[in-house]
């Protein structure tokens, strides 16, 4: 849109990756004079807001300066040799696929930092609000941001692996230190599952790199698997696929996710669902699709089958949790619904068609916005009522949030409706396109199988609608008892943190072309092989 000098763009992209890292180190140092604030806690949380805000601004400038006429071209790219012995290059760049994810990540992290800052301000007035030090919290949050942004910005397989691993330690500590019940177990489950997946992925990446002679993603994508034999492609796709599928997560490798979400603090859940899961699906699109096309073709039917099972399984699990008397936890329910939503994303990728992959990328972003919002809302609900247990909340008649805190109830209903894929909101287009893709999969895939998958997945959308409506009925509706205390309704700072998500959900729903226009040319190119 606006023409920005290429070297400025390069600098901005490098800043986006390195800035949070430096900020993480700075957060651990004592605050310099003049920036001490009211208390050390306040100062360091403000530092978090400043750094994530600066990163968000940099990303927005990048998005504005991005050449929207050529979204398939790698832009703002830097390519420096780092470890010649391993052939690792610091190769950064963005195209239409990575830009939306970068914006999403920077936005969600900023909102999380903002939310934590004001929440601390708010709680400072209330006595007995002593948790572990916010210093470490901010530092870990920034480390996490750096890792996730790097994942979407790097174009070197080993660097991708490094960024992929970089999020593990901060997330582990966020869950283990600031989490709820059973947090230690959940944190271990999270890190061991993901690490086991990612070391297997490393073996696959090394196989690709050694056989093809380069770790550069752009070169490998241009090559489109021509320098890899089919057997190498199949082994590599399997190894890399397992690592990414654990992260995504794909049924049956998902079992770490509900535990991690249930135990994680609000901010951890938002980032886990909104950003971390996307790293898995991004890897599928960025690495497996262009680099090992034959390998992925071999596994696409299985991937689609697992994805569809995930959709049905996630919805059924949610229905079971939403039942009265099931002692269902709201966070756990949203986590299972994520398994279902990510199933749509994987189905879209498995079709290996532009329609399906575009749908997958769209659903990716939509899921990040909507689920991020839902986790924020449930976190707020927990702060007010002290529980996320559906039965405790709803009791006999329903939690009557509409009556007790109308705005909160309204927002929750909005999130649920967006999540079930109401046309006009962000959730709709991605799943729609993924199903379209499955209707006419790539030529060398078995069409009848994919038609079956499509039918089952479409049935899954019905189940999704069913459990989300049950949740809305049990949480938002109900009779307000006379003597019951009114809950605090949505605070200003909460509005500030949530409004961007609501607005973007509506925008993406009403104007999908804004996003699809970015991803489509890039996807076309990746599927065809090569970059212009």
């Amino acid at each position: 849109m606006i023409d920005i000098n290429e070297s400025v763009m390069q600098f901005l992209l490098a800043f986006v990756v390195v800035g949070p890292l430096l900020g993480a180190v700075a957060a651990l140092l004592p605050a310099p004079p003049g920036l001490k604030g009211k208390s050390p806690e306040q100062a360091v949380l403000r530092h978090g807001v400043t750094v994530t805000g600066a990163v968000l601004i940099a990303v927005i400038v990048l998005a504005v300066g991005f050449d929207h006429d050529h979204p398939s071209k790698m832009q703002a790219s830097t390519d420096i040799s780092w470890i010649p012995a391993l052939g690792v290059r610091i190769h950064l760049g963005i195209d239409g696929i990575s830009l939306p994810l970068l914006v999403l990540t920077a936005l969600l992290t900023f909102l999380c930092a903002l939310y934590s800052y004001f929440k601390q301000q708010h709680q400072r007035l209330a006595p007995g609000a002593a948790g572990p030090s916010p210093k470490a919290f901010v530092s870990l949050l920034l480390l996490l941001e750096s890792g996730t942004l790097a994942t979407f910005a790097v174009l070197d397989l080993l660097l991708f692996f490094l960024a992929f691993e970089m999020v593990l330690i901060p997330m582990y500590f966020l869950i283990a230190r600031w989490g709820g019940e059973q947090r230690t177990r959940a944190a271990w489950k999270f890190i061991l599952y993901t690490l086991l997946g990612s070391v297997v992925m490393l073996l696959g990446l090394l196989l690709i790199g050694i056989k093809a002679g380069t770790f550069d993603m752009v070169a490998l994508a241009t090559d489109n698997g021509r320098s890899l034999t089919t057997s190498v492609q199949v082994i590599a796709a399997l190894a890399v696929g397992i690592g990414l599928a654990v992260k995504t997560p794909m049924w049956p490798l998902h079992s770490w996710l509900p535990d991690a979400h249930t135990a994680a603090p609000t901010v951890g859940s938002v980032l886990l669902a909104g950003v971390l899961l996307k790293m898995g699906t991004y890897g599928f699109v960025r690495i497996l699709l262009p680099v090992t096309p034959e390998g992925l073709t071999t596994f696409a039917p299985y991937l689609a089958a697992f994805a569809v099972v995930g959709i049905i399984y996630g919805s059924l699990a949610c229905l079971a949790l939403a039942r009265r008397g099931a002692k269902g936890d709201l966070k756990r329910l949203i986590a299972y619904s994520s398994v279902g939503h990510m199933g749509f994303v994987l189905l879209g990728i498995a079709t290996m068609t532009p329609t399906g992959v575009n749908g997958a990328l769209f659903a990716n972003i939509a899921h990040g916005l909507i689920t991020g919002l839902l986790f924020f809302l449930v976190g707020a609900l927990k702060d007010r009522t002290g529980t996320t247990d559906l039965d405790t909340l709803a009791q006999e008649t329903g939690a009557a949030l509409y009556g007790k805190a109308p705005r909160l109830g309204g927002l929750l209903a909005f999130g649920a409706v967006a999540s079930l894929g109401l046309p006009g909101l962000a959730g709709f287009w991605g799943e729609m396109l993924a199903l379209f893709g499955a209707f006419r999969p790539a030529d060398d895939l078995n069409r009848p199988a994919f038609l079956t998958f499509m039918a089952i997945a479409a049935f899954g959308t019905l189940l999704t609608a069913a459990y989300l409506l049950v949740v809305v009925r049990r949480v938002c509706m109900g009779a307000v008892p006379q003597e019951s205390p009114k809950l605090t309704d949505v605070q200003t700072y909460e509005f500030a943190a949530w409004t961007p998500l609501v607005a973007l959900t509506v925008l993406a729903g009403l104007w999908p072309a804004a996003l699809l226009g970015l991803t489509d040319p890039a996807v076309q190119q990746l599927l065809a092989g090569g970059t212009r």
Partner: protein, 507 residues
């Protein structure tokens, strides 16, 4: 007449390249000096001996600098100048740097340990033993015949037995020393037997000549040569603490003074694997079909048993921190063996060997760092349990952050970037050689190892059980922690510094 005598003398008397052999020689000479000086120095000035030794080790490390410009050889056969007993090539220099640098750091740790022991440890003897062991360890990577190799191995090992048992009247210390001594001597004896077999079938002790002549061994001697190869490897596998020769490790590390355990975990291992490399890759490349699979199986067993052993340590048991580091060092030894095994299958054996060297350099820096922090904690918590590290962050943030960094480097997870990339080179050596199964075993081991490393790291940042007390950290200990910390962080920023060895030939 006189000229005839001169030329005769020239053909018999060798000219010695003193510059080339300076690094081990300086260490040995300073060791002797310290031993003699000990007799004449007052008790109050014994600390000087420590500084002399540290300076000596630093000087011998610096003596490596003039050798960088090219390969030098000395003690060559008078008839054939290409066959030498001592060669200072890149491989030798890198390992010498590792060994001497490791010994230097261990010496810094020892300064504090000796001071804290308040004259219960004999200082002069201690420094003499440490320096002579370091001299032997520095001689080993440069030796190019089997006799020198065994002599170097023994010079490195014999003082180590005494170092382990140096705490007079300490039952655990003597028991550890005895255990270490008996198992080590057995391994050396077996190794010597193997060497005699190899000598019997080839008729030479020079590594390069063995490589040539073992190809044409008489059919009847074939079995003898094979048995010789396997037996020779055993001695070095013992030093590396490869399974099943690892039983001495945990008890020895716990029984020994902490700096000695640190020394053994790095320098002792370097001795083992550099000997293994010389025997396998330089002397016996034609027997790759014998030692390749053997080493691959050894590597898989070593890393699995080491990591499982570390996993089973209870954090509240006495000395569990050292025990855990001991078991983890067994596991790490397994990773070190992977590229050596891969060298048997790969077209480019040198590249694979380079991965071992790169990994060893990373391991040396961060493992010594972890031991340095352990030595610091042991000053206030003599039982040195893992649970004693709880809340270290509250007491001294920088130390805790550094220990966390070292442990994550050992685990191979960011922010320990150098640990991650060192593991990547080892993995890629295995994948390159087609040892897929070994790579998968290693992958599983990395996950197992993460569990105990991260558990320990997480403990550092928990709320402390009692009010943290502030202590002054002695200067040598600070220097050791700072040095290893700076090394680890610098390497994480520029991994190429050590990884370049995995790219180029070392011999």
């Amino acid at each position: 007449m006189s000229s005839l005598a001169q030329s005769a003398a020239q053909s018999v008397v060798q000219s010695v390249d003193w510059v080339a052999i300076a690094p081990p020689t300086i260490a040995a000479v300073v060791g002797l000096l310290v031993l003699v000086a000990d007799l004449f120095v007052d008790d109050s000035k014994k600390v000087l001996l420590g500084w002399v030794s540290v300076t000596g080790l630093a000087a011998s490390t610096l003596a490596l600098l003039p050798l960088l410009d090219g390969d030098r050889s000395t003690f060559c056969l008078t008839g054939d100048a290409n066959v030498c007993s001592y060669t200072a090539d890149r491989f030798a220099l890198v390992i010498q740097f590792l060994v001497l640098g490791g010994a230097l750091l261990a010496a810094l740790l020892s300064m504090t340990a000796l001071k804290d022991a308040k004259r219960e440890l004999p200082e002069g003897e201690f420094w003499f033993l440490l320096l002579s062991s370091a001299a032997g360890a520095a001689l080993l990577p440069a030796s190019r015949d089997l006799a020198t190799l065994i002599v170097a191995l023994e010079v490195a090992s014999l003082p180590a037995f005494a170092l382990v048992g140096i705490r007079h009247g300490d039952k655990r210390s003597s028991e550890a020393a005895l255990k270490f001594f008996l198992s080590s001597v057995t391994a050396t004896a077996v190794s010597l037997m193997g060497i005699s077999f190899v000598y019997a079938s080839t008729g030479t002790l020079y590594l390069t000549e063995i490589a040539d002549s073992i190809r044409q061994v008489d059919g009847q001697f074939h079995t003898l040569a094979q048995a010789g190869v396997v037996l020779t490897l055993i001695g070095f596998a013992f030093k590396t603490a490869a399974v099943p020769f690892h039983f001495w490790v945990p008890d020895t590390y716990v029984g020994a003074p902490l700096p000695v355990a640190a020394y053994l975990s790095v320098v002792g291992k370097a001795v083992g694997f550099s000997g293994l490399i010389l025997v396998t890759v330089v002397a016996l490349p034609s027997y790759a079909d014998v030692w390749g699979p053997a080493l691959a199986v050894l590597a898989a067993l070593t890393m699995t048993i080491g990591n499982v052993g570390a996993l089973r340590q209870q954090s509240t048991r006495a000395y569990s921190a050292v025990r855990l580091l001991a078991w983890s060092s067994v596991g790490q030894a397994g990773y070190l063996l992977v590229p050596i095994a891969a060298a048997a299958y790969s077209d480019d054996a040198q590249k694979a060997i380079g991965s071992t060297v790169a990994y060893a350099l990373m391991y040396a820096a961060v493992n010594l760092g972890a031991f340095a922090v352990a030595a610091l904690v042991a000053r206030t918590q003599p039982l040195n349990r893992v649970s004693d590290y709880r809340g270290l962050y509250a007491a001294s943030p920088v130390t805790a952050l550094l220990l966390g960094f070292f442990l994550l480097c050992l685990a191979g997870l960011p922010p320990g970037i150098i640990g991650l990339f060192a593991k990547v080179t080892v993995f890629s050596a295995a994948v390159d050689a087609g040892l897929g199964w070994l790579a998968v075993v290693m992958a599983v081991n990395v996950v197992i190892a993460l569990f105990y490393y991260l558990q320990w790291t997480a403990l550092l940042f928990r709320a402390p059980e009692r009010e943290p007390e502030k202590h002054r950290v002695p200067a040598p200990l600070t220097a050791a922690i700072a040095l290893t910390g700076v090394l680890g962080i610098a390497l994480s920023g520029a991994p190429q510094l050590v990884l370049r060895f995995s790219d180029a030939g070392l011999f």
